[in-house]
Symmetry: C2
Subunit: 316 residues, 2 copies
């Protein structure tokens, strides 16, 4: 990074803040300047910060008063998470520069320890999927409950709210789980968070023979397999998007209304982006690949989380 | 609001977005102009939006291209949730004005339906608290599990991650639940979300007779009762803060490292703010009151969610 940069962890977990600081302390600002880090935290979090954070800790009452002493000239800002309210006030004493892209790029290449955490998150998620009890008449809410209970039993937390979409509800990519009963099939999209790292898996379960729906599911599974096989020859996200689009055409499936996948790590959706306009590289990153087909009366999706070292792919 | 304003619901639930639109659709922008609302949503959410949102729905591929057609001149921005990255791009074709304060003020006075949802959230949370099984040797994680399980059993979701702090861990106001075993006492701070509305309750449980800790707990409970009794005579948040500070002094308790409470609704922390510098009014709002005392070796907190109509207080 060209200049010092400022991160903010407000009410919710902030991936960049945790990535750099190694701590997760609410309502705190982090200034990163080369190897030196300064954490500004409300008085009530002071003892926690002092005990866990490795850099300088400053308690604040009026945070802008403190920031004014520490920041001048160009200051990198996590423009995706630091709001307009804050940046307009910062402009009175420094020059905020949006570095949100650089911050996302910096998290793209995963360390061995990160990969192992994501792998573990996937393993636990798959364990939960395996224990699911689904039959005709089971409700979406009951399946969601099984997923959350499995997560709780493993001492973990959800990476995102489960999508459980029975029958025609599966035609909505981001359906909100309700109380519909499974008649023929159900789509389940879920992942847990393991030591802050996320998994993302989708499976369709069929409780009744239906050649049309099963066939569509088989097709997206084949696209997944084909994509994984081809991946070592694809150097960029753009090439991956183009390749998968070709497979969809060949399979006579409707065009995807979303990207073929997304980077995954401390966030469920992060870099690399896998859309056709992406300029991201793939080597060294973890991502989810999720070929899907949405029709008017149903949808199918098959999704796994993978790691690509640039030469070979590991499907977790 | 003086001008049309723009809200954004990205990866996570956004209270303002839901408050105005009545829907919760990811990666969507909402333009509110008097009674007319426009929702910009990615293609994949189009069918969901069309089925649930009452205003105009526009699918986007490049959202700025669409926003450019719709916005000019002064545009109110939720500056707490719309990042620097977005506002800098908006500045190319309109004049963003931070209206985050107005948005928070607009959510301060609760409708009957909102009050009833918050009341229900508290009722469910209290039910969960009542079912807790805590004895000497129970771990923080086990208590947390009971809270989350109780939430799941009620078909609800947590409003925030439970704080379960055994013994000396209770001296940290925002302690992160670990695996410590309860020896003498444990502080439990939790609330569920009911139809998107939050509860916030704190209780201390004692498993061993210890006059010092129990006495401190009794003192903060007394401060709570005294504050509630006085509330109808206190016209503003500032007066409430000043009154409670006086009670702390009188009780010879250490000064609070946080405000005496906080507004609650679609967010766990919202307006009215109850700090000594607050300019917010109290009438018509719901808030949590949480007198606490933090010592080096333990802490106590007693918290309830209340509604104040300007004349009388209802403790939920």
């Amino acid at each position: 990074m060209k200049y010092p940069f400022l991160l903010y962890r407000g009410e919710h977990f902030n991936a960049n803040f945790f990535h750099y600081s190694g701590v997760d302390i609410d309502h705190s600002f982090l200034i990163v300047e080369g190897k030196h880090q300064t954490l500004l935290t409300p008085k009530m979090n002071l003892r926690e910060a002092a005990a866990t954070f490795k850099g300088t800790v400053i308690p604040y009452q009026d945070v802008f008063k403190e920031l004014k002493k520490l920041l001048r000239g160009n200051v990198g800002i996590d423009g995706m998470h630091v709001g307009f309210s804050i940046t307009e006030r910062l402009k009175k004493f420094c020059k905020p520069q949006d570095v949100s892209r650089e911050l996302l790029v910096a998290r793209m290449r995963k360390s061995e320890s990160e990969i192992s955490k994501i792998k573990n998150a996937v393993k636990e998620t798959k364990g939960i999927f395996k224990s699911l009890k689904i039959k005709r008449g089971t409700t979406e809410a009951q399946i969601k409950r099984q997923l959350l209970l499995g997560t709780l039993e493993r001492g973990l937390v959800p990476a995102f709210e489960p999508i459980v979409a029975a029958d025609s509800n599966s035609s909505f990519p981001h359906y909100k789980t309700g109380h519909a009963r499974v008649n023929e099939m159900v789509l389940v999209d879920y992942g847990v968070r393991y030591k802050n790292y996320c998994a993302d898996i989708t499976r369709c379960f069929f409780v009744k023979k239906d050649s049309k729906k099963r066939e569509a599911y088989k097709k997206v599974q084949d696209i997944f397999d084909n994509t994984i096989e081809q991946l070592p020859k694809l150097k960029s996200a753009k090439e991956l998007a183009a390749y998968s689009a070709k497979l969809f055409k060949k399979s006579k499936l409707p065009e995807l209304p979303h990207a073929i996948g997304h980077g995954i790590g401390l966030e469920v959706h992060e870099f690399p982006r896998l859309g056709k306009k992406s300029t991201d590289k793939l080597a060294g990153s973890t991502f989810a690949i999720e070929p899907s087909a949405y029709f008017h009366d149903f949808g199918v999706r098959y999704e796994n989380t993978v790691y690509f070292d640039g030469k070979k792919v590991e499907v977790f």
